[in-house]
């Protein structure tokens, strides 16, 4: 569904660039981050659900005022990862990623270009957007094929007793 929508996007100058606002490298970072916010277990996780497409799409429209926060936040995260591990966030082992995220959440990582600020507000923002993407309606780019509704066994369409999942 998402890929189909892209064909109608006149703003895509590079055919291999699947995002509207984020660069591929930025997106890889956010994908890794959101996957640990809602990881895959027996049920699909954030990546499977296309959370990144929700975030990217909203950043280029309704949430345009969060663009700088994302850009700064990602840069600061990568700087911290580089200083500590000489790697990009997305290239770290999962337990290390989780440790970094706990540090961010607790406010122990400083932001790159606003010293004194820290990354917890950025983390909270991504977390909120991830929940919206994963648990909201698929028409906004996330929750691909209603994966979270299926996980919660919510009937769709909404009329009770008309479950149309192929289980």
């Amino acid at each position: 569904m998402v890929a189909g929508g892209l064909m109608f996007m006149p703003c895509c100058r590079y055919p291999e660039q699947p995002y509207r606002f984020l660069s591929t490298e930025e997106a890889d970072c956010i994908i890794a981050l959101t996957e640990q916010i809602i990881p895959r277990d027996n049920y699909p996780g954030a990546t499977d659900a296309g959370v990144i497409y929700y975030i990217d799409r909203q950043l280029s429209s309704v949430f345009h005022y969060d663009q700088q926060t994302y850009r700064n936040g990602i840069r600061s995260m990568q700087k911290a990862c580089n200083e500590k591990y000489k790697r990009l966030f997305q290239d770290l082992q999962v337990p290390v990623q989780i440790k970094m995220m706990e540090e961010m959440e607790a406010g122990n990582l400083n932001s790159y270009n606003w010293p004194g600020g820290n990354l917890s507000s950025f983390f909270n923002l991504v977390m909120k957007h991830t929940m919206q993407a994963f648990y909201g309606s698929p028409i906004h780019g996330g929750n691909k094929d209603y994966v979270s509704f299926e996980m919660l066994q919510i009937d769709y369409p909404l009329v009770i007793g008309q479950n149309r999942y192929n289980t």
């Binding site: 309704v62 929940m131 919206q132 648990y135 909201g136 309606s137 509704f149 009937d155 009770i160």
Partner: protein, 552 residues
């Protein structure tokens, strides 16, 4: 093109305005009912949690436009913050024909007799402008009845021990309990409380040529896809139009009530959907914009005799902004208790609305409307994981096993909790926007703690293996239950309108919406606002012909 003069202009097609327009139209007055929003569209966002009037993450499906309508919020530390309907803190209700009554949860409460006489019952409350209403429950009783029958309510107040006296029953039978409701009902009974089915502005049976409720999962925050939810948009407003006397003019933003040099309302200035400015002359003007926008409009309507805004010579317009601090508790069960059939809330009790030892007022308790998945992702016991595998597990293991018992606390009116206008921040049309400031009375938090403890006790009794309280009652008031900003009273120095909603000193200017309320009760306010619509509408209709409310 110049607009033809009409008998009455009504501003705002919500709960109060829709009813006044209908009362005037059926009595033969020519009416223009103005609404800044559109007619609601039912099938655009029927299931979309992120575009619902409940979460408003990406948009408010029933308005107002989040780009054109900013507001300002003043934080406790004095910082000013610009807010929009999707930014949080906006206190949005809606902006469309029907307004909040299209997407509300539709609880249909009558206030209790005590709610109209709080000062007599409880005495003076330090730091609060708590007052008796200039009208009693008995005055309003026939209007409540009219609201229940004309808009349509399902319920049986005979089952509510604390219900105020009534002459007639509600028109439709009450709804049955859902599994969670059953559980709460039985637990409350065992505790010696008096639970009963929540009265609802929804059809339990076919009514008014519209079908019965089919228990759709998305109710509160959404329009009803089968039109079984009753608001002014599908009842009184169509009735008003069918008389031929009422024109509904949508997408028209009223900028100002024009008050002439004699101190009488001459009509209104507004912008139409193409942003062209117009004047609509009228014999009388009725303001029903909801508590925040009504106050803003009055304040933006300056004239020679009212230089600080219409009806504001004593600085009471916009004061006493109230809402409802929601307070209660959550409980976790080790088996499924939710069926997620709509709307979710089925059982309530009024044992704690009044006469709680050492307290002023109180509030009802009820089980909560269905929590959709995104909303639920925010509900966790204190100390739980906010993300990661444990957060996700909780989501799928507990989604149907979490109960919430909550209620709206009776807020103590506070003089400095208020709406003003911000001359430095303008909306799309260049009009100064509403600015919300002040905070709730300290007693509200104490009362919330009391009610939350009661809710937790019920959940424990119901068999929850883990419970926690969520206590409201601090900070700025307002919200979807906004009220109180143009208080009714007998003294023009301590109120904005008289007992009939007539603005003191401007005889042909009336108010009919949540702003009138002297206090907001421990109940959701819509049915009381509707009753006030009938009260004000009947008064105008009865007395219009003699003088048209114009001196000299």
């Amino acid at each position: 093109m110049k607009n033809k003069r009409v008998n009455a202009v009504v501003i705002g097609a919500g709960a109060g305005g829709g009813i006044v327009a209908k009362e005037l139209a059926v009595s033969g007055l020519s009416v223009v009912l103005f609404e800044r929003g559109k007619w609601p569209v039912y099938d655009e966002h029927p299931t979309d949690e992120l575009i619902s009037q409940r979460t408003e993450v990406l948009d408010s499906p029933f308005g107002p436009d989040h780009i054109k309508n900013p507001r300002v919020v003043v934080e406790a530390d004095g910082r000013r913050r610009i807010v929009t309907p999707i930014s949080g803190g906006y206190s949005n209700n809606a902006a469309c024909v029907g307004s909040g009554t299209v997407s509300y949860g539709a609880m249909a409460w009558r206030f209790m007799e005590e709610d109209f006489q709080l000062k007599t019952v409880y005495g003076h409350v330090e730091g609060s402008t708590l007052e008796d209403w200039p009208i009693s429950y008995n005055n309003l009783e026939p209007c409540y009845e009219k609201a229940e029958w004309e808009i349509g309510v399902s319920g049986d107040d005979g089952l509510n021990l604390f219900a105020p006296p009534r002459r007639n029953k509600q028109p439709m039978p009450s709804f049955e309990y859902n599994p969670e409701g059953e559980l709460i009902y039985n637990a409350a009974k065992r505790l010696g409380l008096h639970p009963f089915p929540i009265p609802m502005l929804r059809n339990s049976v076919r009514y008014n040529n519209r079908p019965a409720c089919i228990r759709n999962r998305t109710c509160c925050g959404f329009a009803c896809p089968v039109d079984a939810k009753n608001g002014t948009h599908n009842t009184v407003i169509p009735t008003a139009m069918s008389t031929g006397n009422c024109e509904v003019r949508t997408q028209c933003m009223i900028a100002e009530i024009v008050v002439d040099d004699k101190g009488q309302a001459a009509g209104v200035n507004y912008f139409d959907s193409k942003n062209n400015g117009h004047f609509q002359p009228a014999d009388i003007v009725v303001v029903s914009g909801g508590a925040i926008e009504t106050a803003r409009l009055l304040l933006n309507s300056k004239s020679k005799l009212f230089p600080r805004g219409a009806g504001n010579n004593y600085d009471w317009v916009g004061r006493n902004l109230q809402g409802h601090a929601y307070t209660g508790a959550f409980g976790l069960f080790d088996y499924d208790i939710l069926d997620l059939a709509g709307p979710g809330a089925t059982v309530a009790l009024c044992d704690f609305n009044h006469h709680n030892p050492g307290m002023v007022g109180g509030g009802l308790l009820a089980n909560e409307f269905n929590r959709l998945p995104y909303l639920y992702s925010n509900i966790r016991p204190p100390g739980s994981a906010r993300w990661g595998i444990d957060h996700k597990k909780f989501q799928y293991e507990m989604y149907r096993r979490t109960s919430q018992v909550v209620g709206p606390i009776q807020e103590m009116p506070a003089f400095d909790s208020r709406v003003t206008v911000d001359e430095n921040v303008k909306d799309y049309w260049g009009l100064p926007v509403a600015r919300l400031s002040g905070s709730r009375h300290p007693l509200d938090y104490e009362n919330c703690k009391f009610l939350s403890a009661k809710a937790e006790k019920i959940l424990k009794e119901a068999g929850a293996y883990h419970t926690w309280q969520s206590v409201g009652g601090k900070g700025l008031s307002g919200g979807q239950h906004q009220a109180g900003t143009a208080r009714m009273g007998n003294d023009k120095k301590t109120s904005v309108v008289n007992r009939f909603g007539q603005v003191h000193e401007i005889d042909n200017l009336f108010i009919a919406d949540g702003s009138l309320m002297v206090n907001n009760g421990g109940f959701n306010p819509a049915l009381t606002i509707m009753a006030l619509g009938y009260w004000v509408g009947d008064y105008i209709a009865t007395n219009f012909s003699s003088t048209k409310f114009r001196a000299g």
